[in-house]
């Protein structure tokens, strides 16, 4: 009898781990803006409650950060990848495999990836496409106003990171003037009109993961809405329980797209897509921000600052439906 019970228990555990998909949250931001500080705040406030894994570039900005992280008593898995300070998508090539292995072995609720300061977040996003084990749930970008105002427009990755952000965490507010703060807000909104901003110093007060995840976008609400058994507002509802598997897919192309094709694309978002957002560059030389949340009649577009690459992330419940991105391809 005892044997049977323990068997049942292990069966249940296995079943649960089989069903669980991890949410990946990318933490980006230019060198020295406070990515590791944010990570520490998130770990300190959440590592008892959620199973968290961290993927950090061992040598990216400063190796001291990583040593410090290792010395804390927080409960999390730390995976270090050694890719030096140069970021190239090709160097991240076997990274997907490492992620798959991590999820199978540890099944974390959340995986934070601290990207190198020169990384383009959505090109990392393409490596997460269509996985059965994880999906890209959001991008958090940390910005240091002083650094941001000086370097935005000069170093390409800074604007790309703001553009891909679901939330921009404006850090080091204690060290900057009201004018700089206003300018930062204005500039961030120019680059990415749809992003939310948090203002903080030392990344304090941004550690409430549940609030952050809910803030991340409508996707979280959609997930909760489709699962009536779970009490809204509980941590469970946001994190662990999901009615369906959720997949992410990033589409990228440097080729400009005809405006008629863009319009056609807007009206053909499949039912299974929960959220879609990104930027498109048209053959007519204009750039558009595109977004869609399940329930909308069609995706909406609005003119935005010029972009050089079209990139759109979709999150949905059916992998095969992501082929709708083919509509954006040439011909």
């Amino acid at each position: 009898m005892r044997l049977k019970r323990s068997y049942l228990k292990s069966w249940k555990t296995n079943r649960e781990s089989e069903l669980k998909m991890s949410k990946v949250i990318l933490i980006t931001g230019f060198l020295g803006s406070g990515k590791t500080t944010l990570l520490k705040t998130l770990l300190k406030d959440n590592s008892q409650e959620y199973k968290i894994a961290v993927i950090q570039n061992e040598f990216a900005d400063s190796s001291i950060d990583s040593i410090e992280l290792k010395m804390t008593k927080w409960n999390f898995e730390l995976i270090e990848i050694n890719r030096g300070s140069i970021f190239c998508i090709c160097l991240y090539a076997n990274f997907r495999e490492e992620l798959e292995r991590l999820v199978k072995e540890k099944s974390p609720d959340i995986i934070f990836i601290e990207a190198s300061g020169l990384a383009d977040p959505l090109s990392i996003g393409t490596l997460l496409n269509n996985s059965d084990n994880f999906h890209l749930a959001g991008v958090l970008t940390v910005a240091d106003p002083a650094l941001f105002l000086r370097m935005s427009g000069q170093v390409r990755s800074i604007n790309n990171q703001i553009r891909a952000a679901d939330i921009v965490i404006v850090n080091k507010c204690d060290k900057c003037s009201k004018e700089d703060l206003d300018l930062t807000t204005e500039r961030v909104k120019e680059i990415n009109p749809e992003t939310s901003l948090y203002y903080t110093s030392y990344c304090e007060g941004v550690g409430d993961l549940r609030a952050l995840l809910t803030q991340l976008s409508e996707i979280q609400k959609t997930e909760i809405r489709t699962e009536p058994d779970i009490e809204p507002g509980s941590n469970e509802a946001v994190l662990s329980q999901r009615p369906n598997d959720i997949f992410s897919n990033v589409f990228r192309t440097p080729e400009p797209i005809e405006e008629a094709t863009i319009l056609d694309f807007c009206t053909s978002v499949p039912e299974s897509v929960l959220r879609l957002k990104g930027f498109l560059r048209s053959t007519e030389g204009r750039s558009y921000i595109i977004q869609y949340v399940k329930g909308d009649q069609c995706a909406s577009i609005a003119p935005c600052e010029p972009v050089s690459i079209s990139q759109v992330i979709a999150i949905g419940t059916k992998k095969s439906d992501f082929t709708f991105f083919n509509r954006l391809k040439r011909g």
């Binding site: 030096g84 300070s85 140069i86 190239c88 090709c90 076997n94 300061g117 490596l127 370097m151 390409r156």
Partner: protein
């Protein structure tokens, strides 16, 4: 024309019989021979073995000796961390640790791994006289970043003179490395400067253009040909890159190939790229790789275009995927097949006008005779298809009414639909009662007769 001539002529915009193929096998060479990259890069014997394996598998027209942007940095005293399946990483930047630019010494042949690489180049030159050899040199801006670390981005604004001094030194390093490679027998010097995608055009023109131009002019005076490799979103700098006067510019999937073509050809420069490294070559299927290659070739056109991946091929790139690309580039017939299939896929991407394969198979099973479907490009126009058709007709002749042979040409919509219904992946393919029997191989007459005989026997028994 040898492969080497094909590459060299294409680089200087001479029209050639076909598009050359240059796979950037670096770290992937180690994977081909089952070695750790950390051992590979330190051994002449292993690099020669890896490049040889790549040449045998992928039949390239040109190939780099190694792809390692840390070679010069390591020789200059940057601390480096090694990995088994990735290029080494620079983790310590001497100038950030207080070293002065004046104390840096241009790498000599006995510094770091420079000597090993040059000896390897000499050996490869002897072994492969007909393949174009690329010597890859770390671009001056990327080397500057290695030496100084990311502080360089701040220095661009705070201390311009310092950046100029550093770029001057890195330029001398690049010229010296170029000479070593040319002396050892390389045909093409590729200056690899991925970090230029990170800076704006204004900074490029101020801090990179004069130095890069000097390097390319130097390579020309040394009778070498040159290429500028960038990866990442550097589209905004393409015009300025053209003004550096390399013979060729090679880009990755972050830049529009049609844009690069237009800008380069207008400036009298050849160009190359931009097979997708991760989404197709590493993670994709053979079919996706073939399609990627065909699209690149259609965009690149017949003049001044070299098919290559966007950057160093990942360690675990699937061998079959690169072979598939190689076949499309080297075999016009294969290219036509891939073109026809993707055209069809485009035309029916939004339609559900395709009946299912299961339905067809159940109809076939009801029939008293066997149906042999031969999916071809067009047996009238293509040799392999013609051989396959006649093999099938000969083999089935003796069975009379028991066997019906139908050719489906994928040049027609009907043929393409049939290909999809039968889930055929390669051309030509023989299906019997809906089941793929021979794919892309022309069977011996006896083998084919035997299969038909057995299938017919089973049918009669049922």
């Amino acid at each position: 024309m040898t492969s080497r001539e094909l590459v060299l002529n294409t680089l200087i915009l001479k029209s050639c019989e076909r598009t050359p193929w240059v796979p950037f096998v670096g770290v992937h060479g180690a994977s081909l021979i089952g070695e750790k990259f950390s051992d590979y890069l330190r051994s002449k014997q292993l690099i020669v073995k890896g490049v040889t394996a790549a040449i045998e598998n992928y039949k390239p027209d040109g190939i780099p000796v190694i792809f390692d942007l840390q070679l010069e940095a390591e020789a200059l005293g940057c601390s480096v961390v090694w990995a088994d399946d990735n290029p080494p990483s620079v983790v310590g930047h001497p100038l950030a640790l207080g070293e002065s630019i004046d104390n840096l010494v241009i790498p000599q042949l006995n510094h770091g791994r420079v000597g090993v690489v040059m000896e390897t180049t000499r050996e490869l030159r002897l072994l492969y006289p007909d393949i174009a050899l690329y010597g890859l040199v770390t671009g001056p801006f990327t080397l500057a970043l290695h030496l100084l670390g990311t502080d360089i981005f701040m220095k661009l604004f705070m201390d311009e003179q310092y950046v100029h001094d550093l770029m001057r030194f890195c330029t001398e390093v690049a010229k010296t490395m170029s000479r070593y490679y040319l002396d050892a027998g390389c045909d093409v010097i590729a200056v690899v400067d991925p970090m230029v995608s990170q800076i704006g055009t204004e900074q490029f023109e101020q801090f990179v253009l004069p130095y890069a131009t000097e390097i390319f002019d130097y390579i020309r005076t040394e009778d070498g040909l040159s290429s500028l490799f960038v990866c990442g979103d550097a589209q905004h700098n393409i015009d300025s890159m053209c003004r550096c006067r390399p013979d060729n510019i090679s880009v990755d999937e972050n830049i529009s190939l049609s844009y690069v073509k237009q800008r380069c050809l207008q400036n009298g420069i050849s160009f190359g790229g931009n097979l997708k490294l991760t989404s197709t070559l590493l993670l994709g299927t053979e079919q996706e790789c073939e399609k990627d290659a065909a699209e690149c070739m259609d965009t690149g056109g017949n003049l001044g275009y070299i098919v290559s991946p966007g950057c160093d091929l990942p360690y675990a790139t699937k061998i079959e995927n690169l072979k598939a690309v190689s076949e499309v580039v080297l075999d016009q017939y294969r290219l036509n097949v891939v073109r026809a299939i993707s055209e069809f896929n485009m035309s029916c991407a939004h339609s559900d006008d395709i009946s299912s394969g299961e339905d067809l198979v159940s109809v076939y099973k009801e029939n008293r005779y066997l149906t042999v479907d031969v999916i071809t490009l067009d047996s009238g126009a293509c040799a392999p298809c013609q051989y396959m058709m006649s093999a099938v007709l000969n083999a089935s002749e003796q069975f009379g009414d028991g066997v019906r042979v139908v050719e489906h040409k994928i040049k027609t919509t009907e043929g393409l639909k049939m290909m999809r219904v039968l889930n055929v992946k390669k051309i030509p393919t023989i299906c019997i009662d809906g089941e793929t029997i021979f794919s892309s191989v022309i069977p011996a007459a006896d083998a084919l007769k035997e299969v038909i005989f057995k299938k017919l026997e089973n049918k009669q028994r049922e």
